[in-house]
């Protein structure tokens, strides 16, 4: 960031930045109007009605109901506009578009660890393509952090034990600040970073240039076997082992022994890894050991991506003889050929 003249606004680098700045302008105008009105009235009355020796005692004034109503209704009206405008911005901000490019962010005390779907890992830096919806799925390994990019006008707390999302659509290339906005300890003010918004071609060059050892899903698969999950959860669809088969379960409701059903999402898979006895699939026993302490947050995200990438069983409906892992996100420019040898991925 070169040292420009004194700034009063952070750059407007995302789609909602304009509407947030518009709301800001409206609010500033209302505040300025009323503050100046009150200040000038006070000065006028203080001067005009200053106590002189001969002024008679001022008469008491009663009534004024209509006056009271007007200066209750007008502020209420102005406030409701503030509420509606703010709520609409918040509503759009809290619903990431379906096709947005997913990036995993893990907050750890005083650093941001970022994992791209293509396997790239970054610390305190986030490279994203311009003009594309980016969805961050964030969690924390210790205390509450907050991923805040002033230039995009977005922030969202990052909580341990939960995934929170934040999404933005960058409109201007450049480098912008990342700040941790929730106090998290000694180096809270050091937990900062930079978002590099790049042209799509540059982004792809950067993406392939990084020494990626396979996509997130492939790393997940490697971890899946390394931790011994594959012994119970066979990747092949046909064998009905002692453990629920993970084929094509992503996004579908899962029947639990208590009769309730839960849709398989990042939260459910993470919970089943870290705390398996919490939700047992119908027809199975509570025999899975817990892996909390044995796997880091990045490992959990890799396993989540792997489970997402296991296609439905070959015979099952909706399965396609996918050469590569069905769920692997075909990031627009990501060269599919780069995927690891097909053998490990073939369902």
């Amino acid at each position: 960031m070169e040292q420009k003249s004194i700034q009063f606004f952070p750059e407007q680098a995302s789609t909602i930045a304009h509407s947030v700045d518009g709301l800001y302008l409206y609010l500033v105008l209302v505040t300025a109007f009323f503050s100046i009105l009150i200040a000038t009235l006070i000065v006028i009355f203080a001067v005009k009605y200053r106590r002189r020796a001969d002024t008679p005692t001022p008469k008491a004034v009663h009534g004024g109901l209509w006056l009271e109503i007007t200066w209750s209704v007008i502020p209420l009206g102005l406030s409701m506009v503030m509420f509606a405008w703010g709520a609409s911005i918040f509503f759009t901000e809290s619903r990431p578009p379906a096709d947005s490019m997913e990036i995993y962010v893990t907050g750890k005390q005083w650093m941001w660890k970022i994992q791209h779907m293509e396997g790239q890992r970054e610390i305190n830096e986030l490279h994203i393509p311009v003009n594309r919806d980016i969805k961050l799925t964030m969690t924390s390994e210790d205390v509450i952090h907050d991923f805040y990019v002033p230039a995009f006008r977005t922030k969202s707390d990052v909580l341990p034990g939960r995934y929170t999302t934040e999404w933005f659509h960058a409109t201007k290339t450049g480098a912008y600040h990342i700040f941790c906005a929730e106090y998290c300890g000694t180096k809270h003010s050091g937990m900062i970073g930079t978002v590099y918004v790049m042209e799509p071609q540059q982004f792809d060059a950067w993406l392939s240039g990084g020494g990626g050892t396979g996509t997130l899903a492939q790393k997940g698969e490697a971890l899946f076997s390394q931790l011994g999950c594959v012994t119970c959860h066979q990747a092949t669809a046909d064998v009905k082992g002692r453990c629920p088969n993970l084929h094509g379960i992503w996004g579908r409701p899962q029947q639990l022994t208590t009769g309730a059903s839960v849709t398989v999402d990042a939260g459910y898979v993470s919970e089943s890894i870290l705390n398996p006895s919490a939700k047992i699939v119908a027809g199975y026993e509570n025999i899975m050991p817990t892996f909390s302490g044995l796997v880091t947050a990045e490992g959990v995200t890799e396993l989540v991506e792997y489970v997402k990438s296991i296609g439905p069983a070959p015979g099952a409906p909706g399965s396609a003889p996918a050469p590569a892992a069905k769920g692997a996100p075909a990031a627009k420019g990501a060269p599919a050929a780069k995927a690891a040898p097909a053998a490990t991925v073939k369902p």
Partner: protein, 543 residues
Amino acid sequence: METVATAVEREPRTYLNVDHTLKSWLLTEDHKRIGILYLIVITIFFAIGGLFAALIRIELTTPAGDLVESSVYNRLFTGHGIIMVFFFLIPSIPASLGNFLIPLMIGAKDVAFPKLNLLSWYLYVIGGSMALTAIIYGGIDTGWTFYVPFSTGYASGMVMLTLVGIFINGFSSILTGLNFMVTIHRMRAPGMTWFRLPLFIWSLYSTSLIQVLATPVVAVTLLLAALERGLHIGIFDPALGGDPVLFQHLFWFYSHPAVYIMILPAMGVTSEIISTFSKKEPFGYSFIALSSLAIAVFGFIVWGHHLFVSSQSVYAGMVFSILSYLVAIPSAIKVFNWVSTMYKGSVELTTPMLYGIGFIGLFTIGGLTGLFLASMGMDVHLTDTYFVIAHFHYIMVGGAIMGFMGGLHFWWPKITGKLYSETWARLSAIIIFLGFNLTFFPQFILGYMGMPRRYHVYAPEFQVFNVLSSAGASVLGLGYALPLVYFLWSIFFGKKAPANPWGATGLEWQIQSPPLPENFEITPVITEAPYHYAPSEEVVHVG
């Protein structure tokens, strides 16, 4: 306290010279003496909190962390927060001015439970000294909000001692509120109906309502946090399925009404000051009175606007956002009514009036910037930045402390029987007003530029406004030092104060200053409305 022993006979008996032993002060049941005891301890805590603030501002003049290390800086802003919020702002007006004035203003001999009143002071001192010992032994770095899981798992320093100190101090606040409510309900002079009460009493009644209903929840929350930190029973521990956001809900259920505990008494003081120095009955008396109650009641249903970005559900966010706008309306009504009171009044710009006008101006800016933070889309960008710091300092320093200073100056002749020097006082009021604005207005801009709060090291482009803010802080520091000087000077060398130096109409101005130990020789009987300046038949009726 008194100068020559012989002078005692000629002087009338007052609550000050009736007994001089330390025991008579430390075991007093007289609400006036307890008010002074509170005033002394409050001033000490204000000085300590102010010292922390000075160190923070000095550190923030440069982007790099070059005055103190990060861990020390975190303890500085935590100390500043805890001392100012729990040990200065919440007890400041209710416990000192409130204790002194409520019985005087409603024609009672004392508060309902004098022993309980003394116990409250001791609880306040014990809680305060526990927090002070924790700070002397290195302080804690949790921030005054004690967010879990940081405060229970990762924070360092004597966190539990501080939590228990605040827990005990909470009971002082609860018992004071309880005492005031029973006093106002049951000990009013004959003829003093609810709508003949001075507006200061209305605002203190609303404050006590909040103190009684909200403080216990934070007491149990901080107790649970202390237990979780000490005994590792994970109520809020996410690893055990606990919900850190539940802690935030329980914490802010108290802490938002707590900001109304801080501002309502200052509003009451301002109503009294504006009315006295416009020599006119407050415009819309019943609207001001009922809006105090409305603020207290609405204050309980808005706390969620502190949690917009903390993974609170969108629907809950919307509910809290719209309700937060409702709580702004009574404050708007009050401001407009104050200004209308000055209309066609006969305004005298004494020091209390300067503080009163300053309060209205700064509280208006503080309140309106609160509307920024109540709007969800805006709050996403602004929460946890310096915008929030500027907003609540405009309310607390521009509002609550201006009100406290105004009240202190307004009732000083009644409390001590001495007049302070008007010129010095006006000078310090103006210095405070200028210093305050120079300190906190740049922080609004910093906030919108995105500088997060509680940052020891910040990005270089924020430095300009931080230097302005630190410059303002030094002026503000000077402004606050002056009153200490001329108030103390007035106690020993000030002129003797008449019973009613300002020509006010309250009951407290009808008796001698300083008052008798039993306040009134004969209990007064109230026959007409308060603020009775003009003869009642010449009343102008507005549509």
